[in-house]
Amino acid sequence: MERRPHSLNPAKRDRILDGMLETVGTDGYESTSVRSLLARTGLYRQAFYDNFSSKEECFLAAYDAGVARVEAVLRSAVDGESAWRGQLRAGLAALLDLLDTEPALGRALLVEVHPAGAAALAKRDAAMLRAQAFLDRGRAEAAALPDTPEAPRIAPEAVASGIHVVLHSRLAAGKPGELRRLLPEFMFVAVLPYFGSEAAHAEMRAARP
């Protein structure tokens, strides 16, 4: 890519990326234009074009930045826990808290990624695969227990997409409400394929406030 002088101004670039996620999450991808983005961020046209050549290019960069933020939040939440189920609970709680605090971020990453098209969806898929890899660590932990049958290969994909679709439906409806209240149900579905019904019900009860 052509080197542009002001792209060496990372603070301004970050402001544009944050503004892009906020604008797309609030107005929708199709209604967002470079003009509406500039209006929201208070930046000048030149600042945008110093960094990006189009709305599409900017959104893809913003998508990467948004996913990186979410994953950083998850990593730091999971850090203090050693067992998979504890990590799962801490990670999901942190994710839901973040989405409650910043619903526009959630809408941009989960809902508006569809109209944004194939390149954005490929980034979403890559993030989902990383989430699945984490979820599937439940397999090794369950295998250490006696009498726990192995979950089929499809389990992490089923769990990740089940959680994803519930979040998507809440965010797409525009009134996500308190997503944090979904934590017990998410614990249930994530633990279920690896540890079975009894453990899943126990995790659901334990995660209730």
Binding site: G28, E157, G196
Partner: protein
């Protein structure tokens, strides 16, 4: 996709889907649709005020056919267990999508780029699967304590699998994922052990 009758309206709806599936929404013209449907422009205008409205009507009809294929097979298996009914419904749906791979891609994947009205219809159609799926609660251990969102977990994870296959260009091979799909959709209700049995019975 076979429509129940071959009226001019139905020919236009089917032609609209096929033209959009082949050429993309932006490139699809009313001219191409009426030619394919063998109706005059005046007949088209008498039925639909615009390309957009015609497409939405066609998409509604398509979603009815897809949900209908599932429902018919599910209901025909009324005497069987819930997981067998789900298997029957999913098999019918996958076979229909596989037989019409181009239309399948339009219905589930390309639709996202056609606008909010179309996406809204897609989400409503997915919601129509919730009630069949929720009948699994009666078959579930500890039914009362299952998550409220169980049906959405089940439908959503199944939907994501089908979506991924179609997007990867494997719509024609969709029936091959039936065992995994049955596991995915029944597991939230039945737990992994019984869902694996349902998967083996496919």
């Amino acid at each position: 996709m076979s429509y129940p009758a071959d009226s001019p309206r139905e020919r236009v709806l089917e032609a609209m889907l096929r033209v959009v599936a082949a050429e993309g929404y932006a490139a699809a013209t009313i001219g191409a649709v009426i030619e394919r449907a063998d109706v005059s422009r005046a007949e088209f205008d008498a039925m639909f005020a615009s390309k957009d409205l015609c497409f939405l009507a066609a998409y509604d009809a398509l979603l009815d056919i897809l949900v209908g294929a599932f429902r018919e097979a599910y209901e025909a298996a009324a005497e069987e267990s819930w997981s067998a009914r789900m298997t029957a419904g999913l098999r019918a749906l996958l076979e229909l999508l596989a037989a019409e791979a181009e239309i399948a891609r339009l219905a589930l994947v390309d639709i996202a780029a056609i606008g909010e009205d179309a996406r809204y219809r897609y989400r409503l159609a997915m919601d129509r699967f919730l009630s069949f799926t929720e009948e699994g609660r009666a078959a579930a251990p500890g039914a009362a304590a299952l998550p409220e969102e169980t049906a959405r977990f089940a439908v959503g994870s199944g939907e994501a699998m089908v979506f991924a296959e179609i997007r990867a260009g494997r719509a024609a091979e969709l029936p091959a994922i039936l065992p995994d799909l049955v596991f995915t959709v029944t597991m939230p209700y039945l737990g992994p052990e019984r869902a694996k049995e349902a998967m083996r019975e496919v």
